[in-house]
């Protein structure tokens, strides 16, 4: 596996982590009812989506780099 594929895999795992963090924030919101947790959850889900978009862009852009 080269750096290109390792990077793509790392970004996918980061997206999964962002989803997990979003769920954790929602759980915290349920327990403590702070608006900050809700905002953080939304930001985490948005980041996760952004990372997946970046990943597909990166793979397309670096197709010729092996």
């Amino acid at each position: 596996m080269n750096l290109r594929l390792f990077h793509a895999m790392l970004i996918l795992l980061s997206a999964a982590l962002a989803v997990l963090f979003g769920v954790w924030c929602l759980d915290l919101y349920g327990r403590e009812d702070g608006i900050g947790s809700l905002v953080a959850a939304v930001a985490a889900f948005a980041l996760s989506f952004g990372l997946v978009v970046y990943d597909s862009w990166f793979l397309r852009k670096t197709r010729t780099l092996q």
């Binding site: 750096l3 990077h7 795992l13 982590l17 963090f21 990372l51 970046y54």
Partner: protein
């Protein structure tokens, strides 16, 4: 005497020696961190009670550090991609940013450690903190090691670009693989210690 298979691939493995070397090294690193993660699971499942990480540790600070490390993996791969496209100036910028992100990560960790030590939360306080200091301390050493290699490639090591650009590009890729591994470890460490 010239070192063989730094640029051309070996016929038997289909890889350069450098790439085999870095993957063997990373395999040994997986065993090291894997053993520590396994120890963590055993100690946690065997404990009568276990604290929630977010009640002891600073989650917002660690979240910031996670974003810093993910950003550093982007700049690292861009540094390598710049060399593949023969843009040495762009490589210098991206590699410099990668080193800077590493420095930011370590600085934040320094403040996090200082806070815990200041209020008397040391490794001997409880098992959770012992594991926290062991795993994050070892990870910090890896970040520092990766920064040292990247700084060498950014500075004096970059002379190789003039004489053998492909070999230099391969070196940057190997350093990038290590840096990505260090990021990968953090992606597992963060939820394990701070969230779960």
């Amino acid at each position: 005497m010239e070192i063989p298979y730094t640029v051309e691939v070996r016929r038997d493995t289909g890889l350069t020696n450098g790439r085999i070397g870095i993957w063997l090294f990373l395999a040994s690193e997986v065993m090291l961190f894997g053993a520590l993660f396994a120890s963590y699971i055993l100690i946690r499942t065997g404990a009568v009670s276990w604290p929630r990480g977010d009640t002891i540790l600073d989650v917002p600070l660690a979240t910031f550090n996670t974003l810093v490390l993910i950003s550093s993996s982007v700049t690292m791969v861009m540094a390598w991609a710049s060399l593949m496209r023969h843009r040495f100036g762009t490589f210098r910028i991206y590699m410099g940013l990668t080193i800077l992100f590493g420095f930011v990560f370590l600085t934040v960790k320094y403040f996090e450690y200082s806070h815990h030590l200041h209020i008397g939360e040391v490794p001997s306080t409880n098992n959770f903190l012992a594991i926290y200091y062991t795993l994050t301390g070892l990870h910090m050493l890896h970040v520092a090691g990766g920064m040292a290699v990247n700084a060498y490639l950014w500075g004096p090591g970059a002379k190789l670009w003039q004489t053998n650009p492909q070999w230099f590009t391969n070196r940057v890729e190997h350093s990038g693989l290590f840096w990505h591994f260090v990021d990968l470890v953090w992606i597992f460490l963060f939820p394990t210690l701070y969230l779960l």
